[in-house]
Symmetry: C2
Subunit: 419 residues, 2 copies
């Protein structure tokens, strides 16, 4: 049986496909007797199957030529599976402890076979809703971001290698366009796809659409997103793209990857932690007021940035005499100057991160794709209160991000709005 | 006779080549009797032949696989001829009045056949040294820059088309690397290729190599040059890349073209006009103190920016409801907001331009490639005085460019240093 052209698989044809694919069937020791296949794709875009037998397991992810959560009316290239596979392999090479191994990629079928992240791995977002603390989360995510962003930037690479990679990822333009639309455009105009907790947030959504300063600021970020090839970014690094246990943190789903601004990834992650924070009041009940958990989230935000900062600078220092061409050691040849350029770089990155993080928060409240953190709050009035506070913070961050000197000030701002 | 692989042509083999190439021989009406061939390449990189007969003429430009002014010891891809040809055609399409027509391109031979810019066309730099006023220069150059930069940016193009073009021009990486080295790196470190008017400027050159603030600022610009794909830029738009008569202005030699920051082109042009200004005192003699001419140069600087600003905004306004995706009209939907985003955009571009212009000035005084404006001043002491004033201004612009509110303030700063 050969699959010489694309066809969407179902559970039955998937078995035939696995049998015909040595890199997959070998993972099961060619033992198909008690094979279980379960479709688990809860994302917006793809089909995901867990395949498990008595002698092995893996995950199969197949991209279809449209956006799953909207349907065939919103076409989307299945070439994204190629960029996802390339990125999983590259990020896996740079940070193997936090990226699932790829066993198989089939370009024609837009299909990736990769490690099954076994229980008790769950999507981080679900863990945050459930109020579970992950003691290593900040350590692991800062490690993932520092390594994947540093090693794919001009701080580490020659211009020649950088431009070759930039050119290749220009091919993932359709996914970039989707982000441009749903993050940087739709929330700021009337769009059929936008929605919000109505009628509670009707005037809030309208205020976003009529705020000139906000629109001025989001335009800057959109241009940076479209023009600045700073590093290979995951492109969709929210808390739904991370699977966790108390010991393990795994980053998945990099189908939006391209060479873009580093701040977009860090902002996506921290912005979604802030959303999780503001959603907690909606999950509080008599048994658990979530106060301690909210403090833990704030600590993770603080620690993730601080650890990222530390690790990134350490990598820079370690490789300052390497083949990276942005800051040649013959020019940046004294400690004071190295200190100066690194402070400038990290300050700019911090402000980029705040801007992108804020834009990602706003779009989750008044744009097309919402987050389960809020969606799972049944009482619409209560949900709207939580969302409004998050929106207020995000607008302030987007407008005044240059005024923030460090992550502690951001945490303080979050606490103030909460009161 | 076939040229199936690359070979450098001389005057004899060039005739054979022309005879075998219909798109060239037809320009001469296939009349080769009184053909004259003259090698005129005075640039740093290529061989250039003027081919003229009684019935027609053209120019042949061939790239060799090294940098001509240094020799085989500095290899440089001849693929640059491809990017030059593509850019000449694209810029010619966008601004036909100011770009010579391409008649023929041979990828294998790295050879371009194009319009011969007949006398009295001369290189603008030579005209500036001779003290000739060009009344239409600001008008024409602002037109060229406004049209080529606007129409290749995301203000006009969809992201899809933009990323496709960005990817293609990533292939011109070797020329980008040359710029990175000679503009953004070598002047700020000890390099075998650097030179300056010694011993007069020995301490000035050393001060550039030991100025932490300057190095911090040039790092920002280098990153922008390497990472920001804002528009298809010429990449080498100094006064030696422009040919002029009193009525005609023609931009040539875009072999450094790629998708980079717009400010690099505008800065290159205005920076080289500022160099021409500071060189005038070295060309003054009893017959001509060059005072009036210096005033004319300052007026051209002022007018070029102001006209560029006006034309660019006009193009933006004309196409604000087009397929450009940076500022969707559904979002930027009121006059006040449009005003706000355009002011922000032009202010940022102005500061980028000042930074890049300053970097281009500095490298022409203490880097590898100097300008004839200064080189033609025989008295080394006098030349050093002129160069030092230009260097002083450039350092100030590079360090404090954000403090300048408009081009008039820049002109005032030039005049102040002159006194």
């Amino acid at each position: 049986m050969a699959f010489t052209e694309f066809r969407p698989l179902d559970e039955k044809s998937l078995i035939e496909y696995i049998k015909a694919t040595p890199s997959l069937s070998s993972k099961l020791d060619n033992n198909f007797d008690d094979l279980k296949i379960k479709e688990v794709g809860d994302g917006n875009l793809n089909f995901v199957y867990i395949v498990s037998g008595s002698t092995g397991s893996f995950v199969i992810k197949q991209a279809l030529p449209y956006i799953r959560c909207i349907g065939a009316s919103w076409p989307m290239t299945k070439e994204r599976a190629y960029f996802e596979a390339v990125t999983l392999k590259e990020q896996g090479r740079l940070c193997p402890e936090h990226v699932p191994e790829v066993y198989h990629f089939d370009h024609t079928m837009s299909l990736i076979g990769m490690r099954y992240l076994e229980p008790p791995h769950i999507i981080l977002r679900k863990g945050l809703i459930a109020g579970i603390e992950y003691p290593l989360l900040a350590e692991h995510m800062s490690e993932f971001m520092a390594r994947t962003l540093f090693f794919t930037s001009l701080l580490y690479n020659s211009t020649t290698n950088h431009k070759r990679a930039v050119a290749e990822f220009c091919g993932n333009v359709e996914l970039c366009r989707l982000t441009e639309q749903v993050v940087f455009s739709d929330p700021y105009k009337v769009s059929e796809y936008n929605r919000w907790t109505s009628p509670y947030l009707d005037s809030d959504a309208e205020m976003v659409r009529e705020d000139n300063t906000l629109k001025l600021k989001v335009a800057e970020l959109k241009s940076m997103f479209c023009e600045r090839a700073q590093a290979l970014i995951h492109g969709d690094l929210h808390t739904g793209s991370v699977m966790v246990t108390c010991e393990s943190t795994q980053v998945i789903d990099p189908e939006f990857a391209f060479y873009g601004p580093m701040g977009f990834d860090i902002g996506a992650f921290l912005g979604n932690l802030i959303l999780a924070f503001f959603a907690q009041d909606g999950h509080a009940d008599q048994g658990n007021d979530r106060k301690t958990y909210k403090e833990w989230i704030l600590r993770v935000i603080d620690e993730t940035w601080n650890l990222f900062h530390k690790k990134f600078i350490e990598l820079w220092d370690e490789h300052k005499d390497g083949h990276g061409e942005a800051y040649l050691s013959a020019i940046y040849n004294n400690l004071e100057l190295q200190q100066l350029v690194r402070e400038k770089f990290m300050k700019d990155l911090f402000h980029d991160m705040l801007g992108f993080g804020a834009a990602k928060m706003i779009r989750r409240i008044v744009g097309v794709a919402h987050v389960e953190d809020f969606e799972s709050i049944k009482d619409a009035g209560k949900r709207a209160d939580c969302e409004r506070r998050a929106l207020e913070l995000a607008k302030m961050l987007l407008k005044d991000r240059e005024k923030f000197q460090g992550i502690t000030e951001v945490v303080t701002a979050i606490q103030k709005i909460q009161l």
